[in-house]
Symmetry: C2
Subunit: 570 residues, 2 copies
């Protein structure tokens, strides 16, 4: 398997063989599509897509349209701004092209892509846009869309993820969602949801807007709440300046934070084993399973100052960076590996100690960033279409931060006792709850995973919460409802083998649908709506002949031929 960064052959999107690996490694010096410029408290991200820089072959990225490779760079920039540039309080998204901010996802790319590639691509772009909103909400880095040209489709959806939208009033630049009229698909990167739920666009106007291919511009765009304001080309820079200054004034981000550098991740692959510093992945492709082992900290930093000094080497940050990368890579590169066995190795006390330092300094900017990164990465796990099974065995360290991995899983298996054939047996596994499980790492629905686990059962939730700080044996964990099964040494191997075999025997689609429903009990939010309602509808449409068939709109786009629709409503 050939590894490529930022470029992979079109084979990536279809067959199983000769599929080059997609990598998410990049840094600003290697960007081909974005430019990141920092000026004091303001960062400017300029989209200037290299037409010939598609991550897969067979299409040109015209009119600042994007593909996965473009979005990988955006994701990298959003992450680095939070960790490397804490002084930045306002981020301006704008375009390096004339009269075109961004034309959205590249259509020839979508038309040529497999269903799985489209779905994966949309999921990642959605996560990146949610991350932009998270930067504003949780880190005081306000994103401002400075639309110096037309923002269409995914381009406008990117603007919708920003806190404010400024549109140039030049008589031609518009915002538009042409997916329904031109492509027979949805604005599926949050667009439909954010229009009505976030921006309060009246639903009948949203209907008109999303069926008007040419979009809306000028005063009408403001009146309809599609953008916050417009400015002539002459006044545009001044308007951007005014918006960024107001965002700077609103931000509570500390002015004295000193950024840390995010170095490239160390990752090596040897056959079916992928190793990071704190993460080890063992692939069992015939079984359709991967075992993901997260190592706990060796020696947590002794103080906040030591944590800052460690920077990206600090376990809590290094481990989550690796986990994030592993999730992204396994999702897109290993679609046949449908079951992920999640486990940990290390000392419960060390994880708890590392966690305690973070909890004690949760208002420090870097600690906050580390916590928010865990939050986002765990949410990425929640929306991952893989069966997640936590394995809790002697030598594991499911405490606090790492216990969330188990709580994110679809099931939890905890060994009752020890493995008798273990040469150097560790003591029986224990779980330990702390503040991380009590609400610091809410899922997309806004509640902690523990609270969601006990939806409708207040007493059970309270009992679990009251057990915080104690080492919980398998019997304790079972009694408190924290684990699914507690097999002993005799049954362990069979139980784990059976669940992996069973998962592999089921329809992957049915599992995906089932898991997507069970993982989101309780309240819905804009974010769960995007991943639930909107994404599910889009996935449905992506399979319909009216979109993806030979006469469908996606395939006919740009050919001069109109799509030939089956007009039956379903």
């Amino acid at each position: 398997m050939q590894t490529v960064n930022g470029q992979a052959a079109s084979a990536a999107r279809d067959g199983l063989d000769a599929r080059p690996e997609v990598s998410f490694d990049t840094e600003p010096g290697r960007y081909r599509h974005w430019r990141l410029a920092i000026d004091g408290q303001v960062a400017t991200l300029t989209l200037d897509v290299a037409e010939d820089g598609g991550i897969a072959g067979g299409y040109e990225l015209k009119m600042n349209s994007y593909d996965l490779g473009v979005d990988i760079e955006l994701y990298d920039a959003v992450q680095r701004l939070r960790f490397e540039h804490p002084q930045v309080r306002a981020v301006v998204l704008t375009s390096g092209k004339e009269r075109m901010f961004c034309a959205g996802a590249n259509i020839p790319m979508l038309a040529a892509s497999s269903h799985a590639w489209k779905v994966n691509f949309c999921k990642f772009t959605n996560e990146t846009r949610n991350g932009i909103e998270d930067a504003t909400a949780c880190s005081g880095q306000t994103y401002i869309a400075a639309l110096n040209g037309t923002a269409a489709g995914g381009g406008y959806e990117l603007a919708l993820a920003c806190d404010q939208i400024l549109l140039v009033d030049d008589g031609s630049s518009a915002v538009a969602l042409p997916e329904v009229p031109l492509l027979g698909v949805l604005p599926g990167t949050g667009g439909l949801t954010r229009l009505v739920d976030k921006r309060g666009v009246r639903r009948d106007r949203a209907d008109v807007f999303a069926t008007t291919a040419e979009g809306v511009k000028g005063a009408k765009a403001v009146a309809w709440r599609l953008v916050d304001e417009t400015a002539t080309a002459r006044d545009f820079a001044a308007a951007v300046d005014r918006l960024t200054r107001a965002a700077i004034d609103r931000s509570t981000r500390p002015a004295d934070g000193s950024g840390i550098t995010l170095p490239p991740l160390r990752r090596s692959a040897d056959g079916d084993v992928i190793c990071y510093d704190h993460l080890r992945i063992e692939l069992d492709r015939p079984a359709g399973a991967a075992t993901i082992v997260v190592a706990g900290p060796a020696a947590p930093p002794a103080s906040l100052a030591a944590l800052h000094a460690e920077g990206a080497a600090c376990w809590a940050l290094a481990a989550v960076r690796e986990l994030d990368d592993a999730i992204l890579r396994l999702r897109i590169n290993e679609p046949d590996v449908g079951t992920w066995l999640l486990t940990t190795r290390g000392e419960v006390a060390a994880v708890a100690e590392a966690g305690a330092l973070l909890l004690a300094h949760a208002d420090d900017w870097l600690v906050n960033e580390i916590i928010q990164y865990w939050k986002r990465t765990l949410r990425r796990l929640d929306t991952t279409s893989r069966s997640l099974i936590a394995l809790i065995t002697p030598g594991s360290c499911f405490a606090g931060l790492l216990l969330e991995l188990a709580l994110a899983a679809d099931r939890q298996y905890m060994l009752d006792g020890v493995f008798s054939d273990d040469e150097d047996p560790a003591p029986p596994a224990v779980l330990r709850l702390d503040g991380f499980n009590a609400g610091l790492l809410p899922g997309s629905g806004g509640l902690s995973r523990l609270r969601t686990r006990f939806t409708g059962r207040e007493a059970d939730a309270a009992a679990a919460a009251a057990a915080a700080g104690r080492d919980l044996t398998a019997a304790d964990a079972a009694r408190l409802g924290l684990v699914t099964e507690t097999p002993d040494d005799l049954d362990w191997a069979d139980e784990v083998r059976l669940v992996v075999e069973e998962r592999a025997s089921f329809s992957p689609d049915a599992l995906t649908g089932m898991e997507a429903n069970f993982r989101f009990a309780g309240p819905e939010t804009s974010e769960t709506k995007i991943f639930g309602r909107l994404t599910a509808w889009q996935n449905w449409i992506f399979q319909r002949p009216n979109a993806a068939g030979p006469e469908g709109a996606l395939r006919r786009y740009g050919t001069g031929q109109r799509a030939d629709y089956d007009r039956k409503r379903v």
Copy 2:
């Protein structure tokens, strides 16, 4: 086109030609699959499916499995219990078969059905189950599932819609959701949502349960909250009796209500025109549009006593019965008619007067039933996969109850002025808001349509609410944000023609997905989750080769061959 009641050839499910019409007319004397018995305050609905009674040919309804025809009878019974039997406070759902409560939706029927038929069938069954919950919540008629045998798949989902579930403890009867392991589809009739959200089943246990084909029985079913209690066969009747007595005691339903009879609807079809007493539908099949005209009341009853005396002839009830029937029939019989133009004819003052009587007596049991029926029917409109366009012209009567029709629409067009070529011109149209628009008829999200329309815009919502009781001209309505466009006589015909043509030119699937997102701004509830998240995933899966393809699980079920899955996760 041949009309059939409760039976239609299998052609119904596929092609366009020779498709017999599905009718929703029935009454207990004609039921083939259910028996309705009333004993004082307790009704018993016994499912005893006639194997040869499928609504379409080509399958046998074995093991109390159901198809659309079985559910049409259930819907009829649920409705009649509310109107004809106000004294009933507890409804027992049970089975007339040995050891089998209900095996769920008939699989050979699903396997042979078109995608559209499956989706429509599931939507209707979901609505009926929501209606069961609504009867308990809003009318004090508590449904109790008395599972005297196994409840599998849709059979258990029917039980989940009941307020309480009693399972016979006979060593073999179980509750089960075998869809994922056996069929490669989801328990899509609310099952996944109700397990975790309504019953508080822990999500890891829900995962185990929904992947265990044989299900769970006895004490474990109680411990896992899958059922409320179990009883041996000997104690079963006593347990049912105890549960019904408790439900009777809890109910606030008046003991002295005297039921009204729901006679068959009068409906006639002449070419492309369908007429009811208060409803007229004009089909324009070449344009893919239907005009639905709801007539306002001639002379509203003068008093509550007069309303009771009128019974089913009372306009407010008769009109909503007809509207409900029309929605159901158009949905399934006219899939190519993708745009519904909703309008009204009558006196605004008369609608307001009829509404005022209802509002003044909202706590009367019959008035409450009429209001709740409007609520459910408007929600049925919300989940209908058709573009809904309200046309507000002189002679229309969009006040209160009927104004909700306009607010349920995707767009509202209101003529500014009069039609100059009208021989006997009515005065310009006006809208009138009243208590019905202020929260008495909430959508699935729990908020009024007016509130949802102004999501995130408190001031606009307050301004609209403050305009209640006044006749609002086109200019007023536009200013208050109640209508989308207010063309004058010169532009009206072109605007309406254009919107119909435009809608017909778009992908019906993209429109369905778009409308399903815009109509549900604001909070999500269990009901919107079922129609949003769960249904959307199911629709996706229903199209996947792993379910519906020649080697998919649905098609291979019962053949002895295992499904051949593409194991890639999407």
